[in-house]
Symmetry: C3
Subunit: 357 residues, 3 copies
C-alpha cells in the first residue's frame, strides 16, 4: 500500500542513510536558521494530540513557525469531536484536507500508521502509546552529532527503567546501526533491558555490559542517557526507597565522570537527576530539548519535499490471525486492514508489533 | 439597528444573489488558491467556541491562514473568563477590539445575533445551539455547485432524522430558492420533516415526496444527503435495532444508485454510512468537508470587504411579549433588547425563532 | 543575579522614566499601527497560562501577531506536562529555548520571578496569583495618557474592594509617582485601602480622602476606577444586599459626574457597573481593554530590543529566614535560591513580598 505522501511512522521504515540526512540537515538549520525562515511559507501543520504532551507539541509548533509555516490543532481530546465518538479515520481525513502535514499523538499503538493510510497529507508519529516516538530518537541523534561530533565509537550508558522505557529501546536500536558503539546498561535486576534489544545489539556487533550501579559505571562513559524509574515499577515501597538514590544523578556522582561526558534525558524528569546537576556544563538535557526543535524543522522539510519511497503497509493479510493487544489501534478502529509481520519470535501485528494469535 | 460591520448570522438575512456570489468566489478560490494567499494579511480572526467543535473551528482557522491572516481564540469554555461569570457582551466586545472577524459557536439560540449587536468587528455564526449553522449550508451549496454543476433541477434525497436535523432544514430551505429541485424525504414516520419546512417547499413550487425506505428511493437521486439518527430518537431500543439498517448506507444500497450520485454528510458520522462506502467515488462527504474550508475563505473575504447592507435587528419591540425558550440567549443575557417577528404562526422571538407568550 | 534578557516581573524594577517610555511607545503604536506590522517578524511568543485568563492571553497574542510575530502556548494546565509533575523550571527552560519571549500566568506569588532566573528568553509576568499584574497597570497608564492627556494632576476615585484589590493597589502606587494626583478612596469600612498603600501616598506627597458613598464622591472626579466587590467579602448576606447598590455604578449616578469623567474597570465586571452605563461616552472600560493590546505591543518591543539594566534578584540570602507563605512559589519549587528584602515592616520574601520568619 503506497500513499502519495511521505510519512514518518517508524524510524525503521527508513535506512540509516536517511537518518544521517535528517541529522545533517538539522545541524545545518541549527547553524543557519535564517536560510530557512521561508522554507514552509504558506504551509499548515495540524497537531492532533489525543493525549497532552506540551513539550512535544510546542516543539513541533515552533519548528513549523520557524520555517515560516502556520499551525492549527487541538491538545485536548475532551474539547474535540473525538468526544462525540468520531473515528480516527474521519478526523484525520478531514483535518488532513485542511493542512500539509499532520502530527499525531495518540494513546493507542499503531494509531499513526492507521492515520497515514487515509490522510491527504504527510503524517508524523509524535508518540503512539508506549509503542514508538521516532522524533525523540532523531532528537537524540542530532544531540550526539552536535555535542560528540559522531554517532559511532561511543560508550553510552543507559540508566533507569530499561525494561519499559520506549525511548532507550529506540535509541539502542538506532545506535546499534553505527559502528563501534558500546553500551553500559544500568538498572535494577527487575528493570533490565529486554532480550529482544540485547539480541539486536548482539547481531549488530555492538558490545554491551549490564551494571546495577551508576556510581561504578559513570567514569567510563562518553554519554549518560538517564530515564525515569516510576515508583510503581519497584517491587515494594521499601525497595523503591532503598534503590532510588542508586539511580539518581547527583553532583557527587558527576565528580567521577569524564570532563566531556554528555548527560541526556528525554524529559520530563522527576527525581532522577538532581536540580543541582543543571549547572554542570555536561548537563545537556535542556540543550537536547532545543535540538528537538531543529531536528523537527529538518524532518518537516524532508517529508514535505520528498516523494514517498516505501509502502506504508508491508505485512501480509491472514484471516486466521488476529491481534489481541487491547492497546492496539486495530482494537478500536474496526475498518483497518489487518496486517502481520514474520519475525524471529513468530507473527506480530504490523500496527503494534505485539505477538498475535 | 445597523452596525458598521458585515455579519453572517442567518443565511436568510441575505438574498439568493449573495449566496451565489459567495459560492462563485469559493469556487474561484478553490481553483486558484495562490491568488488569495495575501488577501487577509495583517488581519486577525478570533474563534470563540463556547462548545467544542474541532472540525468547524479548524476549518475556519485554516481558511483564515490560507488567506494570509492569523488566528486567536479558545475552544474550551472552562479555560475562559466565561467560567468567572462574564456575560457574552463583555467577552465579545473586548475580543472584537483585538480582532477583525469573530467566529462564535455557542449552545444558546440567538447568541451570534446577540454578539453582533455590540462587537467591534464582523461576526459569523458558527452554530448557535440547535438553531442555525449557516456556513454548513454554504458548504453544501458549494459542494453541489462543484460536483453537480448546478443548484437547481436536482433530485435530492434527505435521509435520517428529518425532524430534529438542523442541517437538513436549512439545506431544504436554501435549495427551495432554486428552480426545479425535487426532494425525497426519507425517514421513519416519527422523524419526518416538520410541517413548516413542507409549507416552504409548497410555497416555493418545489415538489417533494415522503419515503420510509432508502432502498426504494436511492435509484432516482442526484444527491443523497445523509444525517445521523440518534438512538434516543427511536420509540424503543427494539425499534432502533429494527430500523437502523433501513437508514444505513452500505455498498449494497450504493449498487442501486446512479453512477453520478453525490453522497453528502455534514459529519461527524457514526453508523449511518458504512466505512466500506468511503472507497466509492460517489462518496463525497470528505471532499464536502474540504469545500467547507474554501467557502469559509470566500465568506471571510466577502464580509471583510463589503459594507453592511441590512439592519441587524428587524423585529418589533413589544413590552407585552416575552420569549419563553430556556435555550434562547435572551434567557441568560438580560441586557439584550427583545425583538419579535410576525410570522404565519404568530409572533416569534427574533433571537431563537420560537413562539412567544 | 543578572540574566542576558530583559524581563518585566514587577513595575517597580523600572524607574518612572521607563514607564513613560513604554506609555509613549504604546500611544505611538496606537496612532500608527502600520509602522509596526513587521517589528517582530520571525519572533515567537509563548504564553504559559497555568490558570486560565482568556482576555489577558488573547491581548498578548493579538499584540504579538500585530507586530508580525507568532504564538505558541497552553491555556490549560491539565493538558500540559505540569500534570505529570514537572517543575516550573524545566517547563520554562525548555519552552524558552523554542521562543523569544515568554508570558507566564501562574497561581503562585513569585512564579514569574522564579521562571526568569533560568529562562533562555525574556519573561513577562501576566499575573502571579494575588501578587502582581504589571501589564494591567501599564494598560491603566496608557488609558489615562490617551484619554486624559496626562498622568498627574488628576482626581482619581477608586471604588469597590480596596483591601484585597491587587489592581487598585498597583495603580495607586504607580500614580503616586506622578505629581499632583488626588485620590478618593470609596469603599465600605471593612474593605478600606491597606495602611501600607496609604503610607506610600503620604510619602509621595499625594493627597487622599476616604469616602463610603460613590454618590457623594462622583461629582468631583476626573477618573473613576471601579472594581468588583466579591459577595463573600461582606460581613453577611444582609450586609451585601444593603451595601451593593451603594457601590454599583448606574446611569443615575453618572448624571452627577463631570462631562469628562473617565470610567475605568480592569474587567471582568459582574454587577458593579450597570450594563446601561455602557452606552455612556464616559464609559471607557472596553476602550481600556483595547489599549491593553497596544501597551503590550509596546512592552514586547521594549523588552526584545533593550539590554537588561538591573539584577533579577536584589535581596540577601539568610539561612535563618524562611518564607511561610503557602502561596509563594518557594513553597513548591524547592531549588529556588531564597532571598529577602529589608522593608520598614521588617524582612519580606523577595518572591511574594510577605513577612517572613
Amino acid at each position: 500500500m503506497q500513499t502519495p505522501y511521505s510519512h514518518l511512522i517508524d524510524l525503521n521504515d527508513y535506512p540509516v542513510t536517511w537518518w544521517n540526512k535528517v541529522v545533517k540537515l538539522g545541524a545545518e538549520i541549527y547553524q543557519h536558521p535564517q536560510r530557512y525562515v521561508q522554507a514552509c511559507a504558506g504551509k499548515i501543520m495540524a497537531t492532533l494530540f489525543y493525549e497532552p504532551s506540551t513539550r512535544t507539541q510546542m516543539s513541533f509548533q515552533s519548528a513549523m513557525i520557524r520555517l515560516g509555516g502556520s499551525i492549527i490543532g487541538f491538545d485536548n481530546p475532551m474539547s474535540s469531536s473525538v468526544s462525540k465518538g468520531e473515528n480516527l479515520k474521519d478526523t484525520t481525513k478531514v483535518v488532513s484536507s485542511y493542512s500539509d502535514i499532520l502530527i499525531i499523538r495518540h494513546p493507542m499503538a499503531g494509531s499513526a500508521l492507521a492515520a497515514a493510510q487515509t490522510a491527504d497529507c504527510s503524517v508524523v508519529n509524535a508518540g503512539d502509546g508506549g509503542h514508538l516516538h521516532p522524533t525523540q530518537t532523531l532528537t537524540d541523534l542530532l544531540t550526539l552529532h552536535m555535542e560528540k561530533g559522531r554517532l559511532g565509537h561511543l560508550t553510552v550508558g543507559l540508566c533507569g527503567d530499561l525494561l519499559y522505557g520506549r525511548t532507550v529501546h529506540s535509541l539502542c536500536k538506532a545506535l546499534s546501526c553505527y559502528e563501534g558503539n558500546e553500551f553500559v546498561l544500568i538498572s535494577t535486576p527487575e528493570l533490565q533491558m529486554p532480550d529482544y534489544i540485547l539480541k539486536i545489539l548482539d547481531q549488530s556487533g555492538c558490545t554491551y555490559r549490564v551494571e546495577t550501579s551508576l556510581d561504578t559505571a559513570i567514569g567510563e562513559l562518553d554519554v549518560l542517557y538517564m530515564t525515569r524509574i516510576q515508583r510503581e515499577r519497584f517491587a515494594s515501597e521499601a525497595e523503591y526507597l532503598a534503590q532510588r538514590d542508586v539511580y539518581c544523578l547527583t553532583p557527587e556522582k558527576m565528580a567521577h565522570a569524564r570532563p566531556d561526558l554528555a548527560v541526556l534525558h528525554p524529559l520530563p524528569r522527576v527525581d532522577e537527576i538532581s536540580v543541582a546537576v543543571d549547572a554542570d556544563a555536561r548537563a545537556l538535557y535542556f540543550k537536547q530539548a532545543q535540538y528537538g526543535m531543529y531536528i523537527r524543522m529538518a524532518l518537516i522539510l524532508m517529508l514535505l519535499e520528498s516523494k514517498p519511497k516505501h509502502d506504508l503497509l508491508h505485512g501480509i493479510a491472514d484471516a486466521h490471525l488476529r491481534c489481541v493487544n487491547s492497546k492496539c489501534i486495530t482494537a478500536t478502529e474496526s475498518y483497518l486492514p489487518h496486517r502481520f509481520l514474520q519475525t524471529d519470535d513468530g507473527m506480530v501485528c504490523e500496527y503494534c508489533e505485539e505477538r498475535v494469535l
